[in-house]
């Protein structure tokens, strides 16, 4: 345990605290936001945040190029990031777990087909799929979830495949088979419960990756079209005002890094907590 700057409990508390705070912020956005995030006021364009001499407490974190309140937009922006991150990770997790367990348990053609597909998909990163889909049908929250979910399943498939194969050889599975249990029963009752801890850790860490990818796609203009308040969109808008109004892109960047760092902390803490092999090692 000496390696970590702080122990797993602190990691889980700190990370979990940040995650819960951002989720609450997303849920109660209408109550927390001081202004309407889409309300344009051209008289109060590009007002800097309060720590700047020209700052104004009406807009604590300043305004953007259209005079929209940055704080309100940041609060509302958390909604899309969390929804897309969690939904995409769930989709990837469900798909990858089922396919991975299937490949690992049954072997044969299913194993070859599923694992070859997972290998082949390495050459087709999510960003290319996103580019194709946006070129064909345009960007929407559902498309983002589909793109990230469909490209994220291979991680789970590989982990679940390897674990299922090793668990399948264990005596308790053999005993269940000799008692005449059916495959579906064995997978549900004996194999899946063993996989839950690993699955929780992988999924938590993947939500962080998904959120980073969602903001990257939004930044490229492949996410929800403007004026939707998303952190990636705001960063992209700030890019054109880097000199006059650096706070637009920097505040969105800080928002992203806080949430992603919190989720990574939570995931690392969970990993140390749930994985007995890691306990002694680090």
């Amino acid at each position: 345990m000496k390696h970590s700057m702080f122990g797993k409990k602190l990691k889980m508390r700190l990370g979990g605290g940040i995650v819960i705070a951002v989720i609450l912020m997303a849920i109660f956005a209408p109550l927390l936001a001081p202004h309407d995030p889409y309300d344009q006021d051209l008289m109060s364009r590009l007002i800097p945040p309060f720590w700047n001499a020209q700052g104004d407490w009406t807009y604590p974190l300043g305004t953007d190029n259209f005079g929209r309140d940055m704080l309100s937009r940041l609060i509302y922006g958390s909604r899309l990031s969390i929804t897309v991150g969690v939904a995409a990770a769930l989709l990837a997790c469900t798909m990858g777990t089922i396919l991975g367990m299937w490949a690992g348990y049954s072997g044969g053609y299913a194993e070859t087909a599923i694992m070859r597909l997972a290998d082949a998909q390495l050459a087709f990163p999510d960003i290319l799929l996103a580019i194709l889909i946006v070129a064909a049908v345009g960007g929407s929250a559902l498309n983002l979830i589909l793109v990230l979910g469909l490209s994220g399943w291979t991680v789970y498939a590989r982990v679940m495949y390897n674990m299922t194969r090793s668990i399948r050889e264990r005596p308790f599975v053999e005993a269940a088979v000799s008692h005449g249990a059916r495959s579906a029963y064995i997978i549900r009752q004996h194999i899946f419960p063993q996989l839950i801890p690993v699955l929780t850790v992988v999924a938590t860490l993947q939500v962080a990756q998904m959120i980073l990818q969602e903001t990257a796609l939004s930044f490229l203009g492949l996410g929800l079209p403007p004026p939707t308040a998303t952190w990636g969109n705001m960063l992209a808008e700030g890019r054109d005002r880097m000199w006059a109004a650096p706070w637009i892109s920097n505040l969105s960047g800080v928002a992203i890094i806080i949430l992603v760092w919190g989720i990574n902390m939570l995931g690392n803490g969970l990993r140390e907590h749930l994985d007995p092999n890691q306990r002694g090692r680090q």
């Binding site: 700057m5 390495l122 087709f124 999510d126 960003i127 290319l128 049908v137 492949l222 960063l235 890019r239």
Partner: protein, 305 residues
């Protein structure tokens, strides 16, 4: 060695088939291809021409066969924004992207491996804490924001380097650093882990008992064994590198395939988008093959599986 390369080459057709299949599904089955390829102001003549070119009156399976045939011949249609065949447009941008990616990769690899080794050799001491904390922070950092911060600092404030564009080696620094940070944190963490694992191997004790010098142990025995997991990871992360390159090229207006793709989407230039997607996935397959060959050269055990 030869059989190993042939076996790996056989996976390429599967990958290409998958890419063509997904492209076909997205472009032909999710909506009306006419609306995807042409804008609302298209004349009936343009529509009829497109219907004939894409063979939209044929059954889907025939369309897929013809689409596959076109792709294999390198015929992606005419670019709408440049009015020339799409493939040469994309290939013309390949050089700039390869330049950016290889410099960034070299940077990430050298500093990542060096950082990982330092962290491992100074385990649980200050250099290890600093490097590990930096790596975890780097993993949470959206690299596109880092690119913008670099421009703000080194181009706008200090005026040391150009903000964007291409032309001299100064233009390459900021994009390469930005792209390198996509992989650098993971390189540090993985090298650290594998060096720690390799350090307890018995062959190092053997080498030491034979009187080998510490530097010979480091470079001849430890590094070749510790470097392979880093290379495997690099193979798995090719997709991320491509994503990073697209983002970096867009931030710095780097004239490569990535910025061309993004621009073509907004110009609704579908032939260029398909050609670029296709070239990039072939590049990823070839890069993976290269990584495999490198690995089997460093570690002969890899050739067996």
């Amino acid at each position: 060695m030869f059989a190993f390369i042939v076996r790996r080459l056989l996976t390429i057709p599967i990958t290409i088939l998958l890419v063509v299949f997904v492209t076909f599904i997205v472009l032909r089955v999710t909506g009306d291809p006419v609306q995807i390829y042409l804008d609302i102001n298209a004349t009936p003549e343009q529509t009829a021409l497109l219907r004939e070119r894409l063979h939209l009156d044929e059954p889907l399976i025939v369309q897929f066969g013809l689409f596959l045939w076109d792709v294999l011949r390198g015929d992606f249609g005419m670019s709408l924004q440049f009015a020339t065949p799409a493939l040469p447009v994309v290939l013309g941008r390949l050089g700039a992207t390869i330049q950016l990616v290889s410099v960034a990769l070299l940077f990430a690899f050298v500093f990542g491996v060096a950082g990982g080794i330092v962290a491992a050799l100074r385990k649980d001491r200050l250099p290890d804490f600093l490097l590990s904390a930096l790596a975890v922070a780097g993993q949470s950092m959206p690299s596109f924001w880092l690119g913008i911060l670099l421009i703000q600092t080194f181009a706008l404030d200090l005026k040391w380097l150009p903000t964007s564009g291409t032309g001299s080696w100064q233009h390459l620094i900021l994009p390469a650093v930005t792209l390198a940070t996509f992989l650098l944190p993971n390189f540090i963490l993985i090298t650290r882990t594998t060096v720690l694992e390799t350090r307890s191997e018995l062959f190092l004790t053997t080498a030491r008992s034979k009187g080998a010098s510490e530097s010979s142990i480091m470079f001849r025995h430890l590094l070749p064994n510790a470097i392979n997991p880093v290379l495997s990871f690099l193979g798995l992360q090719m997709g991320r590198l491509v994503g990073g390159s697209i983002i970096t090229e867009t931030i710095f207006a780097w004239p490569g395939i990535g910025s061309l793709m993004i621009r073509s989407i907004f110009q609704r230039d579908v032939p260029v988008v398909i050609a670029a997607v296709f070239i990039v996935s072939i590049a990823i397959v070839l890069a993976n093959l290269l990584v495999d060959i490198l690995q089997s050269l460093i570690d002969p055990r890899m050739r067996l599986d």
